[in-house]
Symmetry: C2
Subunit: 327 residues, 2 copies
Amino acid sequence: MNIDMIRAAAGRLDGHARRTPMLTSPFLDEIAGRRVLVKPECLQHTGSFKYRGGRNAVAALDDATRARGVLAFSSGNHAQGVALAAREHGVPAVIIMPADAPALKIANTRALGAEVVLYDRAGGESREAVGDKLESERGLTLIRPYDEPQVIAGQGTTGLEIAAQAAELGVTEADVLVCCGGGGLTSGIALALEAEAPGLRVRPIEPEGFDDVIRSQTAGSIQTNTAVAGNVCDAILTPAPGNHTWPIIQRLCGPGIAVTEGEALAAVFHAAERLKVTAEPGGAVALAAALFHASDIDGDAVVVTISGGNIDAAMLARALATEGHPQ
Amino acid sequence: MNIDMIRAAAGRLDGHARRTPMLTSPFLDEIAGRRVLVKPECLQHTGSFKYRGGRNAVAALDDATRARGVLAFSSGNHAQGVALAAREHGVPAVIIMPADAPALKIANTRALGAEVVLYDRAGGESREAVGDKLESERGLTLIRPYDEPQVIAGQGTTGLEIAAQAAELGVTEADVLVCCGGGGLTSGIALALEAEAPGLRVRPIEPEGFDDVIRSQTAGSIQTNTAVAGNVCDAILTPAPGNHTWPIIQRLCGPGIAVTEGEALAAVFHAAERLKVTAEPGGAVALAAALFHASDIDGDAVVVTISGGNIDAAMLARALATEGHPQ
């Protein structure tokens, strides 16, 4: 896992992934007490950065392997990223989801051309068993959501763009706050910045109570969450940093910051109001840290990722009702 | 008023105006029955395309004139565009607004460094009289919101970007739906496309009941609206096309389309849900036409502008409640 893989990913994604802009707002600068540069990956295809990693992983397969199709376990953003990447390559995608996943997510994934296989989570059916069977019977290749080098490389292309766009705006020394679940985006950006913008330092941002990465940083070894549900930041609730992502995070990242659900929802308000983008709560935790944990951050500027925008209308309405004040 | 002025504007705006991306969504393509390419100027500085024209007009003044400051009549997007452009040049901006304008708009314009002068609309005070006095006493230069060549030239830079971005996506023949108030954006884009992408044809999109441009197209001469208030699309309610914008629209644009308030609000939902951008109702009329008036449009693809995103949270919540269905 190294910068050359990220550069190769950028070549594979050229003309496919969107180069998202870098957004700013004087109103956010005022709240944060410093310049805030925002990289809105909610504007990426499928509404999250996950398309980058999915597309790169599918593109990097050899032709014969890819032609048999790909497989992912996901009820969320990774599913959509892999589904679109597979459709663009004209190969099958099978997405394994719990039968009780929201109907809208199932429909969206199917609309992107994927075959959705449901498993009975409540009844104790193992998704891994379902997946193993599909892998062996149909020769599908599993695309892991974060602990997979080509996925990390794809997410890392976000970091190449951040380095260039921050430099254009005169920012070469700053913390880069990254919404962190399993650490694919965090580690990918960290590797890209190490090579391209060594004055920019990644800091992982997590929801309070689901701060496995922060506790891993403190302990010096991988720590786990006891739960991976029960928080509005569903997109970034994962059991633990991965075996590939953790060593990169440990070596390159500054201390993490945990934010509350109320702060994440208030940040969704500010994203809509001031940046004119739709963020999902898990995709807004880094913005929440910039706005509401300013004293934990150093420097005249801070770079923030918005990692995704796949929020349903009811949750967005709930965020708007905060009027930007954490509750 | 010609393409050279737009190219000169592009030079002045380089490094200042944001090159907004071109967004797409397979879900919108499905509703519209064709490819939909969306140019989201809500992501522009100050949340609307108006910054382009404001910045170009301020930049084009000679130094001595500009140093005395600029003046605008506006309670909305033009005010913010001119205010930011003036602040960036370090010169005063005076914005004349009705005393009963929403407090938030007054506060936002002040936050961008402008001096806000209120006039008593209800009491019959003339804003022109207030403006004339300021012009003569302080030597301020009036920046008109649309009927001003350097403003049209600035807005036209949107068209240069559309031409390049549509070509990158393989679209060289299509209707380009433009949200139309006084016609600054419409005429500017039309001039840019005439020179750079002659297969792309602008069509003005207006709110039903405020369709002065469409009626002007039918009559062959400038027609006026009887009211300029009382519709959720407040950003694009204007009395009539301008003396500079109308001849360009008449010469270059295809037939206009009028949309209902319910269609505009439903389009705001789809912009948030599928494109992950915040649109205001007036900024969403072109998307509404693409989605809900598909049979009035020809071709395999359509280009849509979202002209602004300055919507308050209550109106956005109202749009979300439509769930994308015009009411």
